[in-house]
Amino acid sequence: MTAPLQMSFDVACSAEHAFGVWTERIGTWWPSDHTATGQAELVVLQSGIGGRIYERTSDGVEHDWGEVTVWEPPTRLVYLWHLRRDRADATEVEIRFVALDSTATRIEIEHRGWERLGNAAGEWRDRNRAGWQTLLPHYLAAIEKLAATNGKEGSR
């Protein structure tokens, strides 16, 4: 078995905010080139079990690359993941949002199921590790940006 990829880091916000930015606000931070086409206009993660994860390009074509399998806001999220692979090759991502207090949350990510890819498992796991490293700074920036404006008056 190929070992899961595991990542953990703390963010300075509530678990609700961290969960919301990952899910309903994904379209504000997911990089448009971190997609199947490399030029997505829109990235959507639909709420609830069975929710689709997909991109849409400017000419209206949709590409699915995931499906939500566990939806427990604001503490736990699991989805199938097959960006740039067939759905039959889907791996699994689990994200836990562990509230440390009302303004601090530990985020634990486990990306597993590489053995489904057979001989390609090791190489695909390495590529995904690099992918997570480029992705997460976008999420962290969005957490900060969206938290900074939460509850603040919209205009002066």
Binding site: E24, G27, Q46
Partner: protein, 109 residues
Amino acid sequence: MAQAPAAGDPFEALGDANRREILRLLSGGDKPVREIADAMTISRPAVSRHLRLLKDAGMVTEEARGTRRIYHLQEQGLHAVQAYLEGIWGDAAARFRLLAENTDQEPDR
């Protein structure tokens, strides 16, 4: 990647009546700051602040034309809002979009 992600929050940008009014004015065509300010009750510096926030959120852009800066609507911020709607309302939001795109406008009667 066509555009860098917007630095601001499009949802905050929409959460203010003056900024929605600016977007409405721009939906009628590109405009310089002065023309936007003339159509509103707030001061021109206030209009400029709102425009900066809308620009940060990817909802408007500006271009220099001679000595003037002309503002126009931009879709980038809209896409983040659309992604949110589709994420929550799912296929209902997508159906609405398809309907909106495929419905010919009725001629005025």
